[in-house]
């Protein structure tokens, strides 16, 4: 892991104008992201946590350059992202991919899996290695989908499968950074666990970085290398995962952690004992 971060965001600010309407309407400014700085290192997972309205998704969109900043800078591999134009911007879009929250909303309902998965390559004007069909099949296999379903439409898949399609699409251009915006929040818990494991495995294989946006601290703890906590547009605390979860410094982080509902550890401990005993019985 190099010391130079892959992505370096400095003093990001995003203001939205709230229109008063009409000819005389006064417009107010709302600061959704307020002086946010963060680094994502190569191969790591930085989790950005916060409640709704904390500005975490806006930050993600600023970094993906889906929206423009009010001020501040985003550097990717040493280049200022918001100064990029034309070819260079196009190339940046091939380096950074986004996996969205709602698997159905993020897949065009009128396109087949094959078209969806190869779309980033088409938009990047790159050739599809080995032809669209074979390429899609290979990607589908890698994310745990039946490759024979490549001609199906998104609606014919379950939520977890659809999210796998979204992940496959992100992998198509072999990006260096994947921004996962609440990528597992809409999934049932058993499916969620599978997708988290898939995300981790893919990172091990490919070595890309994640910017993992989530509101669920327990999920974040399973996947993050480092954690940044956001509240009302600001980052209140950044640190290694174990530090943030084990010894949170900011009162808001502490409040957030305290609020997480939890299964009592002693129950989990009892369950592990019982499991072990059962396994022993079965072996006997």
């Amino acid at each position: 892991m190099s010391t130079e971060p892959l992505l370096r965001a400095r003093n990001l600010v995003k203001e939205f104008t709230v229109h008063g309407g009409g000819l005389l309407g006064r417009s107010a400014k709302f600061r959704a992201v307020d002086d946010v700085s963060l680094d994502v290192r190569s191969g790591e997972t930085l989790a950005l946590v916060g409640e709704s309205g904390s500005g975490k998704s806006t930050t993600a969109r600023l970094i993906a350059r889906l929206i423009d900043t009010t001020s501040g800078s985003v550097e990717f591999a040493g280049r200022e992202v918001h100064a990029l134009t034309g070819k260079a911007l196009h190339a940046y879009r091939g380096e950074v991919q986004v996996v969205f929250q709602d698997p159905y909303s993020s897949l065009n309902p009128k396109h087949t899996v094959e078209r969806i998965v190869t779309a980033p390559l088409v938009y990047q004007k790159r050739p599809v290695p080995g032809g669209a069909r074979a390429f899609t099949r290979e990607l589908m296999e890698r994310v745990g989908l039946d490759p024979d379903h490549s001609a199906r439409f998104p609606a014919q898949f379950s939520g977890g499968q659809a999210q796998r399609i979204g992940i496959a699409r992100a992998l198509a251009v072999s990006p260096k950074l994947i921004i996962a915006d609440e990528a597992v929040s809409a999934l049932d818990v058993s499916v969620q666990a599978q997708v988290i494991n898939l995300l981790r495995r893919l990172q091990d294989e490919e070595g890309f970085s994640y910017l993992f946006i989530a509101h669920d601290l327990a999920v974040v703890r399973q996947i993050a290398t480092r954690v940044a906590v956001m509240n009302e547009g600001r980052i209140v605390e950044t640190g290694d995962r174990d530090q943030v979860f084990g010894a949170p410094r900011d009162p808001y982080t502490r409040k957030l952690l305290a609020a997480v509902p939890r299964i009592r550890p002693e129950w989990d401990a009892a369950r592990r004992r019982n499991e072990a005993a059962r396994r022993k019985r079965q072996e006997a």
Partner: protein, 288 residues
């Protein structure tokens, strides 16, 4: 309420089945469910999407969508609900059994003040009540769910409240009648985690103060572990496992329950590959 013995459960459900007629025959979304809820008890119904947990609650309330067929017995405080006529059921709803829904914004009518909506049940279940009294009841209910400035807020409209406050309004709505049973269907799913904690505390407080029974329907095992003393695990309309909450969390008997418990990411336990029942690359688990 005083006449019934304390051993008889508040709610006794036997063979509850809910089916929807389709072109390919009736599809059962709840299949022959049996369970009891003790007086003042808190029952958690847990399951993933499509498990039939919400339909179970609507079946108890007699609020199933058009076309749904319900069979089986639902005995509430000695009365067989499935035999009641619609008019008699209306007297039970809101008065004896109250319900809190998942999405507080869409569950509140945007055209009326929260005060109107809170006192609505009171006005229609009690005869000879003046509007003034009803308004007082509404304010009291709002105070009980800790909405500050209740006498002023009572005249506000739902869109003027935040998500958590709206859910408090929904709960206040159930309180105006002092029900014996509150059914909460995913009451905190749409809320932020800090607000969720407040609402869960509030539900616990109300149980303590009123002695009402609670059915909490949720997909979140961690939430249910904090609230319920008794648990039902459902999957695709079937009851997988039921028992005391501690027993199920400590010693689950069914593979599905174990799988669910394994899949829950922990905030203060080991970190590792989340154990999932299906082979992770296999699609069999989700594929239908």
């Amino acid at each position: 309420m005083t006449s019934t013995s304390d051993e008889r459960p508040l709610l006794r459900v036997r063979g509850l089945t809910v089916g929807f007629p389709t072109a390919a025959g009736t599809v059962d979304v709840v299949k022959s469910l049996d369970f009891d809820l003790a007086r003042g008890g808190a029952l958690g119904i847990v399951g993933e999407s499509g498990s039939g947990k919400s339909m179970t609650s609507l079946a108890i309330m007699g609020l199933l969508p058009k076309g749904a067929k319900r069979t089986g017995s639902i005995e509430f405080d000695g009365t067989e609900l499935s035999e009641l006529r619609e008019r008699e059921m209306q007297a039970v709803r809101g008065d004896r059994i109250a319900m809190v829904f998942q999405d507080p914004l869409s569950s509140l009518n945007p055209y009326y003040t929260v005060g109107t909506q809170i006192s609505e049940a009171y006005l229609s279940h009690r005869t000879g009540v003046t509007r003034r009294q009803a308004r007082k009841v509404a304010i009291e209910a709002m105070e009980r769910v800790h909405i500050r400035n209740a006498p002023r807020r009572v005249d506000h409209y739902p869109h003027q409240f935040s998500g958590g406050m709206r859910q408090r309004v929904m709960i206040a709505m159930t309180l105006s009648m002092e029900p014996d049973l509150i059914i909460a269907d995913e009451p905190t799913t749409a809320l932020d985690v800090t607000v969720q904690a407040q609402i869960l505390d509030l539900l616990a407080e109300i149980r303590r103060d009123t002695g009402a029974g609670l059915i909490l329907i949720t997909h979140d095992l961690a939430v249910v572990s904090e609230v319920a003393d008794h648990l039902i695990v459902m999957r695709e309309g079937d009851l997988v496992e039921q028992g005391a909450a501690e027993r199920i969390f400590c010693d689950p008997q069914e593979d599905y329950t174990r799988m669910l418990l394994d899949a829950v990411p922990r905030i203060d336990d080991e970190i590792g590959l989340l154990r999932t029942a299906a082979v992770e690359t296999g699609t069999a688990e989700e594929d239908r």
